[in-house]
């Protein structure tokens, strides 16, 4: 069965640079969620989209923005990167809001 695809899987950036993370949901899933997992931490919700509109927002810094495109893939844009942004970023998709979420493999971002 098709799973959630995230790219890139690993990303190394320097402070103050910009990063773009991509997420391709499971086919026919119209809802996408982004979570951030810092070292030794539990995943924290960042933002979600339903039918290409922002659905809910968590503790996402103003330096981050995200959107969902017409083909339902989503991108998380991160600017002015800080050392503290180093984390594993998960994307999850669901067939509708309030249903089971399926997680992608994550993108490991390292900021140096």
């Amino acid at each position: 069965a098709a799973g959630v695809i995230q790219s890139p899987r690993h990303l190394i950036k320097e402070k103050r640079e910009t990063a773009t993370l991509k997420c391709y949901p499971i086919p026919r899933h119209d809802t996408v969620y982004w979570y951030q997992q810092g070292p030794g931490q539990d995943p924290q919700f960042l933002i979600s989209f339903y039918e290409k509109m922002q659905s809910d927002k968590g503790s996402i810094p103003d330096r981050f923005s995200a959107q969902q495109f017409s083909d339902y893939h989503s991108e998380l844009n991160m600017s002015s990167l800080e050392l503290g942004d180093s984390a594993l970023y998960f994307c999850a998709s669901s067939r509708d809001r309030g249903y089971e979420q399926y997680f992608g493999p994550g993108t490991r971002l390292t900021v140096t």
Partner: protein, 116 residues
Amino acid sequence: AQTVTQSQPEMSVQEAETVTLSCTYDTSESNYYLFWYKQPPSRQMILVIRQEAYKQQNATENRFSVNFQKAAKSFSLKISDSQLGDTAMYFCAFMKPLNRDDKIIFGKGTRLHILP
């Protein structure tokens, strides 16, 4: 706001033994989902088992079962006949099945070591 608490930061058991991971949560909702996720060294988040709050019967998936006590707001995971591949971080998680507030809230996790 909902909270999820896992009181066991780390546990170790011998292979083939049974182990129980504890989880408590706090919510004023009557309908919700509870999950156990496994995160092995690969860091992939793998759904182990889910429980819907309106269902009284405890969920079971092969060697994994839960003890869901709604009144006590307790949701423990039992792993029977533990295997080396069960070594991982386990997260207890909560989700409201509502359209605009369906983010998953995770506990801090329990690191489980299965010893040969």
